[in-house]
């Protein structure tokens, strides 16, 4: 049996799965061990209540880490005027205190969006299983971790048992080949993929992103890709760890990452986390990035996306969506088929969210903003993903570039990605956003969202409409 175990070629996903399978259950599911549980204020209060109700404790408080991000005001974090939001934040503080969980509280210099601080702190490591009551937990898959979002009942289950009952997903290889244009980013890669397979194209699968175009990406760019795996419907997204991954983990102050001899030992194991040659995937797709254009969404789901050089499509031309749904989307977005994307004027720019709020995203945006002014018609909000990102950006002087350009520089949080805090779109406002969802009302009731990369968002802020940055005079 051992020989056959050694000889069977496995995907990266299969290896991480096997390493965490506690036992098979009678109904055909698997009890899966969870190495890291990240907790935030919105999806956890009812889980803690459930524990109290059933007199259960945390199995592993030391594997559980919390911060507040969704509700946090980004102008003055402590000035929470929304009393219901305030209660939710205080409830997290109280629960972490009662159950012995490490909390990166509002006054911590490590507070931030949960998916930004996990990697920063060294909590996110190759080959681990990571869950959080948030669908963008897929972000952590950039390290070769199996990371996925869960609901509140599952949050309670992990708090109590450090395990989850799971059915194994199928495997889906997304192979990115070619060398992209300098202004075509990880955000464009993932939007293009979602446009190709649709927002349910990955349902039931774990995506593994492979190929030279992925290998060439930094860790932060890889996080952008894995972050939006859920937007394709996938359970998770993964990228095999390599020297770029190991270097990221070894660099900077990452208090929870192994160090010295332990790090060396870990790297030996992490290097095994690659899909074996001939390991079968259930589905594969290849995407050539060499001719790829920057992507802009025009509709109300992330699969409704087109090249910046393109036009708003006709309902009959849209793959993966029923014409009636496309008509509803166009009506909501206030767009007509045939309109050039670069002719769409915008009122708001949001640069932030767990998709694109890391230091490299801010550097890329700052390069565009430098020496320029934001259009008078555009309100621009730049929200770093974490306090660490904010402090780093300020050390580099990026905030001055943003402020001089006329943008607002804020504190860390989820902010206008989902508008649970005071940062919201007004009805009818049109936003170029670096976030992950363009659903109806996502950034504020009646608001219209177009998803783009940080560079595209910055350029749109200056021009007042979308521009093809490949051809834009900088």
């Amino acid at each position: 049996m051992l020989a056959s175990f050694l000889m069977t070629p496995k995907t990266l996903f299969q290896k991480v799965w096997d390493n965490h399978a506690v036992c098979d259950l009678p109904d055909g599911s698997t009890l899966l061990y969870i190495d890291r549980h990240l907790v935030h204020e919105v999806t956890s209060p009812q889980a803690f209540d459930g524990l109290r109700l059933n007199k259960r404790k945390l199995r592993h408080p030391e594997l559980t880490f919390a911060t507040m991000d969704h509700n946090v005001p980004t102008e003055n974090k402590k000035d929470i005027r929304d009393l219901i939001a305030k209660t939710q934040i205080e409830t997290l503080q109280k629960n972490c205190n009662e159950f012995g969980i490490t909390l990166y509280d509002l006054d911590s210099d490590k507070q931030g969006i949960v998916h930004v601080i996990g990697p920063e702190l060294g909590l996110t490591l190759p080959g681990t299983t990571i869950v959080c009551g948030d669908s963008h937990t897929s972000t952590h898959g950039a390290f070769g971790a199996l990371a996925f979002g869960i609901g509140t009942s599952e949050v309670e289950h992990v708090l109590a048992t450090q395990c989850l009952v799971q059915q194994k997903a199928k495997s889906f290889k997304a192979n990115f080949v070619g060398k992209p244009h300098a202004h075509v980013t990880a955000k464009d890669f993932i939007l293009k993929l979602i446009g190709s397979i649709g927002t349910a194209g990955g349902t039931g699968y774990v995506l593994e992103y492979t190929g030279e175009a992925i290998k060439a990406l930094s860790m932060e760019a890889r996080m952008t890709i894995c972050n939006m795996s859920i937007e394709a419907g996938a359970k998770a997204g993964m990228i095999a760890p390599d020297d770029i991954t190991f270097q990221y983990i070894a660099s900077g102050k990452r208090p929870f990452a192994p160090k010295g001899k332990a790090l060396e030992a870990a790297i030996v194991n992490w290097k095994k986390l690659v899909t074996d040659t001939q390991a079968p995937y259930d589905r594969e797709i290849t995407i050539d990035v060499s001719q790829m254009a920057p992507q802009v969404t025009w509709g109300t789901n992330p699969g409704m996306v087109v090249d910046v050089s393109g036009v708003v499509p006709k309902p009959s031309e849209v793959k993966n969506c029923a014409p009636a749904d496309v008509e509803k989307a166009l009506e909501y977005m206030g767009l007509k088929p045939g309109t050039k994307i670069t002719d769409i004027p915008i009122n708001v720019v949001f640069i932030g969210s767990c998709t694109n709020s890391r230091i490299e995203d801010l550097r890329a945006a700052a390069k565009i903003f430098k020496g320029k002014k934001v259009s008078k018609k555009v309100k621009t909000l730049i929200v770093p993903g974490s306090e660490q990102v904010r402090l780093q950006a300020e050390r580099e002087g990026l905030h001055k570039i943003f402020i001089e350009a006329g943008a607002q520089w804020r504190n860390a949080g989820c902010s206008m990605c989902l508008a649970m805090n005071p940062d919201k779109l007004e009805a009818g406002e049109r936003c170029a956003s670096t976030s992950n969802r363009n659903f109806e009302g996502r950034q504020g009731k009646g608001g219209r969202t177009h998803l783009v990369s940080p560079e595209m968002a910055a350029a749109a802020a200056i021009a007042g409409h979308f521009v093809d940055i490949r051809a834009w005079e900088m």
Partner: protein, 212 residues
């Protein structure tokens, strides 16, 4: 969780694809620390006009669907955010069952429901039924022509009976055997997992959470 065996109720149509959990329960209602009170906010932005009155054009506000407990939805229902509040809102509105079509597009099978939503539903006794697109189209036609139309969902026999007159119409659905059992017994999953504490302890004894 309440066990689910047989349910009889009226059907309602929400014929839209890719209904995301942001539409099901909007973020302004996620600030609650309670598990209840979400029903009145289900589909808020579609359901109510800016002045707070019911939007007469929203499908579920059609008087023929009043009191419906079985929702017939479109493909990829529940996509997006992991918020379990979406399931709580659907259940607390009064729905016991949601059925949606499986699509076959470009040679690929596209499941009726998004993954996390499906998991969340299974923890709350909200029965999700996946059916072939053709079957759902037929059911939709029957519902729209005969509303209010009553149906019986029988989980033990995995059947849907539309109470049409003079002749009833019966469909069968597929369901994972383990999941079916969970619904029938209304099992507490945490309690179930706690039976495996010895296995978890044995696993922990040899497992490194850092792969060191």
């Amino acid at each position: 969780m309440e066990p689910f065996t047989i349910h009889t109720g009226n059907m309602a149509l929400l014929d839209r694809g890719n209904v995301d959990t942001d539409q099901i329960i909007s973020k302004e209602f996620l600030k609650s620390i309670s598990r209840t009170g979400f029903g009145p906010h289900l589909f808020h932005d579609w359901r109510y006009l800016p002045d707070g009155k019911p939007n007469p054009h929203f499908e579920l506000n059609n008087p023929v669907y009043e009191g419906a407990t079985i929702l017939v939805a479109g493909n990829n229902f529940g996509c997006g955010s992991s918020r379990e509040h979406a399931v709580w809102a659907i259940s607390q509105y009064g729905f016991k069952v949601v059925m949606a079509p499986i699509y076959e597009r470009h040679g690929e099978i596209i499941p009726a429901f998004a993954d996390i939503f499906r998991n969340n539903s299974s923890k709350n006794g909200l029965l999700l039924i996946e059916l072939p697109e053709k079957t759902v189209n037929e059911i939709k036609k029957f519902v729209s022509e005969n509303a209010p139309l009553q149906a019986t969902i029988d989980l033990p026999s995995q059947s849907i009976t539309l109470h049409l007159s003079p002749e009833k119409k019966v469909y069968h659905f597929l369901m994972d055997a383990g999941l079916k059992q969970k619904f029938l017994e209304g099992l507490d999953e945490i309690g179930m997992t706690e039976r495996y504490i010895p296995q978890i302890e044995a696993f922990e004894a040899k497992h490194s959470t850092q792969m060191v």
